[in-house]
Symmetry: C2
Subunit: 334 residues, 2 copies
């Protein structure tokens, strides 16, 4: 059921089998599996999963290539609801390991918010990442195009950039060094923008020049275009660079601060997991973009199945086999 | 494009980046990713993927819970076709490792079949498994219910069996020992059938008795029911056992004989892979039910993304970055 400020009192008395933090593709898939394993689960979602921003999911098996990410999420939510899973819109502030259980402290409501604490045996961290976007004065100008033809994921949308005039909007020298030459697989017509936010070393400048990729360090005033179709960039000096597509590579914010107190094994910014999505804590699993691996919706959905199954196996073993407690079935002559 | 006996001549001259053996959920997802990475791929499918038999996919994020497996496969095929991937209906008889390439020998056509040989740099084994079914005299009687309420996968359909009178159709003593007590998580009303095909040890008999699960060793004459809804079993002695659902656990046939000559690392009947679905051969990847792991459609689909990405990364690195070979873009005053 959908939990609200008005009905979450009794839910704070019970112990869930698993609390899933994050209601994106990974979290919803985990919730569907958990409920189908007859476990009781709570998904806590702060809203706006990364896939929510995707206008077209081009590579998700089973869905037409123009399916918006939010349609996938809506369908997943409906599916989870039909299995009677609990769902709460709220922001997880902290997770405390109490030994047998976790206490999950949540802020519910944006205005007149209240604090609630839920408990579970297992935790699935599925709260994902969100991409940093170019910090322009008018962010509405960025949102106008981000997720349309101004992309944030080369693996997801490289195909759509094929042989197009592409702006590469970098957040650091490392972003340029790691991504631009890979991006050239899809298109060599790359113009690199630093927005004046950092300096580029002479050696990287030489490498960009050698490949013929212009480097523009003048800050960006705004993106140009209409109807969500970005057609170029206007710089603060008034000059215009025409583009057909863009890739933003300014890093990501990981939604995992609630785990800070627990001290899980990390690699880079990602949680290290085994082949069943188990972290270094025996009762915390991590799925989707938070963990080491590819940030793809279909993989996050598969992760959800793995994590839920790992939890089910442990709980099932602890409970043991159930005997047939009624009469034996009728065997009659036909 | 769809290859047929009539147009596959020229395709035998080229070298594909990857040949995918199997056009089920894993293979189609891999194909979609490969084509979107601008690689050229060929999927060779013998037909009748395991998911093809599923009447309702209850646990695939993004699809309504009553979606037939064949609808997922049709959508995936349409998606792959839209990306101009090559697809051939045929049976792979052998894969020969030629060093830089693989030669894949295929039998095309059931009547007046011809032999064709295709070559690729990489191979994705995605040919899956098929479940053994109870070998009754009239197999049409089995097909009438298999995939409806006579299931083959507890993880997929345990939820649908909850608290129902369930027949467990075992292929071996090990199948009983490994599965029945787990199945009791969903329902304890389990009747075990051996179909008279093997003997059950006294210790397992005692354990079944202790749990109250009847053991029926008399061979089965036929399943009873109508409109694809199995309602029980008639034994060869004329007695009838009423049931509401069933789980078949008679093992699976692995569609991997074409790999026999190569000698990949196995565990049980499954191929061992790393976190990107790479087998012990550097240019062969394995996805879905052939590899170690859970046999779930959503996981196979995620595997496809991983395997395709592993291949793309290697090819991309080998090719290197592409320079901008045309004039620099116009930077004009706005």
């Amino acid at each position: 059921m959908q939990l609200t400020k008005n009905n979450l009192q009794e839910k704070q008395q019970q112990i869930y089998d698993a609390i899933v933090i994050g209601g994106g593709a990974g979290g919803l898939s985990a919730g569907i599996y958990l409920q189908r394993y007859l476990l009781n689960s709570l998904i806590i979602d702060k809203g706006k999963a990364r896939s929510f921003w995707m206008q077209e999911l081009h590579n998700y098996l089973g869905l037409p290539a123009d399916t918006p990410g939010r349609v996938l999420l809506q369908q997943g939510k409906k599916h989870y609801d039909s299995l009677n899973g609990d769902f709460l819109n709220g922001f997880v502030e902290e997770v405390i390991d109490e030994g047998e259980t976790f206490a999950v402290r949540v802020k519910v409501g944006r205005q007149n918010s209240i604090e609630a604490v839920f408990r579970s045996k297992y935790l699935i961290a599925a709260s994902g990442i969100i991409d940093y976007l170019p910090p322009l004065d008018d962010m509405r100008n960025v949102y106008e195009y981000a997720g349309y033809n101004l992309h944030v994921c080369m693996v997801c949308d490289g195909y759509e950039m094929t042989n197009k005039q592409c702006g590469f909007f970098a957040g650091s020298e490392a972003a340029i060094a790691e991504m631009v030459f890979n991006l050239s697989w899809f298109t060599p017509y790359i113009t690199v923008f630093t927005h004046g936010a950092f300096t580029v070393s002479d050696s990287l400048k030489a490498k960009l020049r050698e490949h013929g990729y212009p480097l523009i360090e003048t800050p960006i005033k705004q993106f140009r275009g209409e109807h969500h179709r970005m057609t170029g960039v206007e710089l603060i000096d008034g000059s215009i660079v025409e583009l057909e597509t863009g890739l933003i590579s300014m890093g990501s914010r990981y939604h995992n601060t609630y785990l800070k107190g627990i001290g899980l094994e990390m690699k880079g910014g990602n949680l290290v997991t085994d082949n069943m999505c188990r972290t270094s804590h025996p009762r915390i699993l991590a799925i989707g973009d938070l963990k080491v691996g590819l940030n793809q919706v279909i993989i996050a959905a598969g992760d959800g199945a793995l994590a839920a199954t790992a939890i089910w196996r442990e709980i099932r073993r602890a409970v043991g086999a159930k005997p047939w407690v009624e009469n034996l079935p009728a065997v009659t002559n036909g």
